[in-house]
Every structure is written in C-alpha cells, then in structure tokens.
C-alpha cells in the first residue's frame, strides 16, 4: 500500500446509498449565457456556459458532477448557489423557485444551500479570525447571539476536526487542509440542507484530500446533508457520489448511478474519462479485474461561443459516425433508467480485451 496514494486506498471503501427518494432540489432546463466582449459593429455574441441542464437531487443523496475544465460545472454550481443569475430555466429547492425569489426568500434559500469553495487560500478573509468567519452565518441569519455563535463555532470546530482553541487565530496560521475544514465549518454553521462542494479538494495536497473527503462523507451522515459534488477528478466524484452527471460543453451527456457509470459507462466521453484514471485496473463492482482502455482524445472542444448543431463531442469521438456531424443527440432516458445524450451509447468498449 505504501507505494499507492492516499486516494487509491480510499477508493476501496464502498458507499452505501441512504437516499430517501424525496426530491429536494430540482433544476429544469437551466441555461446560463455570458456576453462575450465584442468589437463595436460586430455581432453581439454569447458564450453558453450551461446549456439546457435538468436534474433533480433527492434528500440525503450525493450528486457528483464531473467534466473537464470549462465544461460549465462550476457555473452550474454557482447558479444553484444563487451566485449567478441563470439566463433561463428554473432551480427549485423544496418547490421554492430560486430564480424568481424575492430578496427576502432569497436570504432564507441561501441558508438552505451552502458551499465549500475550491481554493481554501482564497475563501477565508485574511483579516478576520476563523472563529468570526464560522460565526458569521449564524449571526447573519439570527440563529444565535454573539456568545451563542461563538460556542457553536467551537462545537463546529470540534465536528470538523479542528481544535476549538484556534478560534481566535487568523487564516494564514492554518494549512490548506485546515483552512478547508474552516470553510466546511462555516458552511455547516448555516444549518444547510444542501452542500455544494465545488472542487473542494483539488487545491489540496493529495495526502490531505482523502481526509477532507472522509470528513465530508462523515458529516453527510451526521447532519443528513444532500451534496452536489463538483470535480474534474472522476475518481474523487465516484468515491463521493450516489449518482454521477458527466458534463461536456455545458451539457450533461450522461447521468446514472455511480456504480453504473463505473461498471458500464455508455457515453464515449465517460469511457475516456474513466480510462484516464492512472490505475486502470477495476477494483470492485461488476467489472472487477478488468483493465480500462486508455483513450487519448484528439482534436479540440468546440468553442462554447457559437456552438455547432452537431454533437459537440463528435470532433474528438473515436466512434463518431455520419449522423453525429449533422444532428445534435438529444438527452434521453435509456431502458435501464440512465440519461444519455449520444446517438450510439455503449458503442465504445470501456475495457481492454
């Protein structure tokens, strides 16, 4: 084991889903466009970061969102957080729509969804004591008075594995992993229902990543949290998630349970993502013992500005056919309940012969 990274050993554990089935978050046809800087006189152009994305998340579930840089996964997370105003579609938390909420409902909705940020060096105000940072959500939402908030902050410090003696220290006195724990404590302080984790470990040392992931898993059980876990690392996402949505160029191209995605990926992009995991020997599940095929993607991602009407993965797809160049595959449900946007699902064998 000593030669392997902490990540690999962590992967050996198997998640047991404890999903209640009750729908907590529903995202429908979400679109987020950004205006692109344009020269005077030229046509006004738009970058479509999130293009008609729909999914729902049940209470207690973890939805993993995976995709390469620039695929819109962070924008999607920021829309769910209410940090970006969607250009279209609806986001509803327990039936209350976030996109049309008044300022007052927005504040209480904000409390229900909290975020763990990617960069722990950027997400803590260097001029505030960590105790004040963690107490802030309680004070803002009137959950406690100053003394109560401090006591609760000390308790939360204990929960996330930090010594409550460090409440009066400044962020620069903590390591990256410790800062991320402070960020998690801040998110928990608002007593949220949904925790959006946007690349929560990708800025951390590999040796620390597993600790933070384990902490997040433990907290989910303890506080009955629902997670939306965003990462470019499909291995990390698989470890954390009950269901996985694979994003490509602003769209979800495949969505299924983590076990299904792992054992039998259907979309060629998912196959290539899984094939890129350094250790390509499948350890457990239906495909245990097989080796994944390594697929080196060639070609470029189409620009999210002025998308073509073809399948966006077509230029890089090893199994693309004529129709892929002509028609954009629609997002449909397969017989086994998966969602996929591909004309030829399952045509790329994910394993070596």
């Amino acid at each position: 084991m000593s030669g392997e990274s902490a990540m690999t050993s962590v992967n050996a554990s198997v998640r047991t889903p404890r999903v209640s089935g009750e729908e907590l978050l529903r995202v429908q046809h979400l679109v987020k466009r950004f205006p692109v800087n344009h020269r005077i006189g030229s046509r006004r152009r738009e970058l479509v970061a999130v293009d008609d994305v729909s999914f729902s998340v049940s209470r207690g579930e973890t939805l993993g969102i995976v995709g390469e840089s620039g695929c819109g996964k962070s924008t999607l997370a920021r829309c769910v957080m209410g940090l970006e105003r969607p250009s279209g579609g609806a986001i509803a938390i327990e039936g209350r729509d976030l996109t049309t909420a008044s300022k007052k409902t927005m504040r209480s909705l904000r409390r229900d969804v909290q975020m763990v940020f990617q960069d722990p060096y950027d997400s803590l105000n260097p001029r505030r004591r960590v105790g004040d940072i963690v107490a802030e959500p309680m004070l803002v939402h009137g959950l406690a008075d100053a003394a109560g908030a401090r006591k609760e902050a000390a308790r939360l410090f204990d929960v996330v594995g930090l010594n409550p003696r460090y409440l009066d220290r400044y962020p620069n006195e903590f390591s990256g992993g410790q800062r991320q724990r402070v960020g998690i404590a801040r998110a928990l302080a608002a007593k949220p229902k949904i925790l959006v984790a946007d690349e929560p470990v990708s800025a951390l040392d590999v040796s620390v990543q597993a600790q933070v992931l384990n902490l997040l898993s433990a907290l989910q059980r303890e506080f009955d949290l629902t997670y939306i876990f965003v990462s470019h690392n499909i291995d990390v996402v698989r470890y954390m998630s009950d269901r996985i949505a694979v994003m490509y160029l602003g769209r979800i191209v495949e969505m299924a349970s983590a076990a299904d995605i792992y054992a039998a990926p259907q979309h060629p992009y998912t196959v290539s993502l899984l094939g890129a995991i350094p250790n390509n020997l499948v350890g457990n599940g239906a495909a245990a013992g097989k080796r994944r095929r390594r697929i080196v993607l060639r070609g470029d991602i189409p620009s999210p500005v002025d998308r073509p009407s073809a399948c966006p993965f077509e230029p890089r797809c090893p199994v693309a056919q004529e129709i892929c160049r002509v028609r954009d595959p629609e997002f449909r449900t397969l017989d086994d309940g998966r969602y996929i946007a591909c004309h030829f699902p399952g045509s790329l064998d994910p394993f070596e012969a």
Binding site: L124, N125, E136, G161, E173, G177, Q178, N214
Partner: protein
Amino acid sequence: MPTARKADARLIDGTQIAPVLRRRNIVGEVLAAPQAVVALIILVLVTLSAVLAPLYARFVAHTDPFSSQVSATITLGGKAVPVMQQSTTGLKLGVTPIGPTWSGQYFIGADNQGRDVMSRLLYGGRDSLLIGITSAIACCVIALVLGVLAGYVGGIVDGVLSRIFDVLWAFPVYLLAICLSIVLLTSRIAFGPIVIDSSSLILPIAIISIIYVPYIARPLRAQVRSLCQRGFVQASISVGSSNWRIIRRDILPNVMPSVIVYFPIMVALNILIESSLSFLGVGVQPPNASWGTIINDGLPLLYTRPLVSLAPGIMIAVTCVALNLIGDTIRDVLDPQAKIREAV
C-alpha cells in the same frame, strides 16, 4: 460506528498548527527602519513648533506677526536699531528689513512690513499642516467612499463615477486647482445660513481635497473590484450577508492598508499644492499665513534677504521628504506591491 468515524474523519493533517505568523506588529516594523524614525522625529518637531507658535511670538519674539511693524525698533547689543533700515548706498533711497539677528527677536530677520519672519514661519506651519492634514483626511475619506461604491456596486454607478474620475484626472493638477480657487475666492459663498468668507481656510482645504480624489479612488476601485471576485467575498454572499456587512467585514479591512499607505504621501502632496497656490495668491488669504505666502512675501527681498523665502522653502522640503519617507516605509511594510501614481 461513531468511534470509527472519529478515528478517520477527525484526523488532523499535520496534527500541529503552525506556530508562526502571529498578528504583525505594523508600528514596530515601521519604526524598525531608521529613516522612518528620523522622519518621525522631524515631523514631531515641525508639528510642535507649529503648535507652540503663539508662545514663541509672545515670549521669544515679543511681537505680533500679523501686524505691520515698519516703524519699530529693537535693542541690539545695547543700541536701538530700526527694523526697517535706510539704505546706505547709492542714492540712499528705500529701506531694507533687518537681517537675521540669530537671537530672540527677528531670529531670521524681518519681511517688507517689518514682521518677524520666524514667528510667521511657525504660524505658517500651522496653516500649512492644518490644510495638508485635513485635506488629506477629506480626500482619503471621499476617495474611499466613492472608490468602494464604484467598485462594489459596479454597473451604471461605476460607469458614472469612473468617468467623473477620468475628467478630474485629465486636468493638470495645478490648472484645476487654480481654476477652482479663482472661481471660489472671487465669489462669496453662501449655503443658506452658512456663509464662507473668502479668507476662510475651508476653501483651500476643500479645493485641495477634491483635486487628488481620483488619484486614490481609482486604484481603490480596482482593488475593490478584484476583492469582489475573491472566494471569501463570494462565500459571504452565499452565506447571506448583507451588502453593508460585506463591505464592512470583507472589503474595508482589506483596502485600509492602501489608504494608510496613501495618507502620508497625500499630506505631503497637499502641503506642496497648498504652498504653490498660496505662493500664487490663490490659496491661503491674508491675514492668514502659510509657508507659500511667506515665500511670496520674500520675493522682493530675494537679493537682499534671501532667508525670508528660503526658510519656508526649507520647511516645505523637509516636511515633505519626511512624510514621503514614512509613506514609503509603511508601504514597504504593509503592501509591497502597491504603486501610487505620482502626481505631477
């Protein structure tokens, strides 16, 4: 299995918190630099001399530095000497004020009206420092408010404020100051019951504080804009903090170091611009005196009694150098990347 959970989840990375980087002692770090100590001593002396000006005038110089003393005489070495001395050369026409006695009365001589230049120098320091400091405070406060407003609110507010800054910035500093002064000084200003006399010090203070606002507000605006993209501000928004709370807790504490760096340099710039305006006659108005007006007083005496102009000039130079030294040291300590656009 709560015990098992504790075992893995509560594992603290590194186990020990870094015992480094306690809160920095900024004042201590600034005072560790020898040039800052020298500058501070100079500034304390200048300030003390300005504060004690009335005592000097009464007990050392025995004179009223604001009234004409053309017919006065002083006792020098047992003999009575007139302050305004008759010319002894050529046609023996005209009078020259007494030169430096280097003791008690008329320490560095008299000006054209026989007034004690040393006393006036100390009194002038009062006005120069007062204007320099209050207009720097006003300038920093206005710039902070506008810069934070433009950077935080963005959109139309930012657009309008930024264009106003651009217009102010586009003017040469002295041209703008002189224009404002001439307009304001030649008309009596009345806002309802408040009437501002044209000799009031409020006018130069107001003029000078407005002129440099864009020089501070623009960099602050840029700083606020980049702060708004930082994770901790985004975190505060997602936590649900109000805008005012975010400005107070996240924005202001992070831009204050820049304001602190700008402040002493602004005081120096303001003293310079005040002196220039007063020298040109559009700054401090009689009966008040400032270093700039004293330089102007000494203008006709430049060949015979150069010290009348030289002394306030030296005071301005020394004070500004000291303020810049302190500003540079604070900048090095607080904010090594900060750059201030030097005003011309």
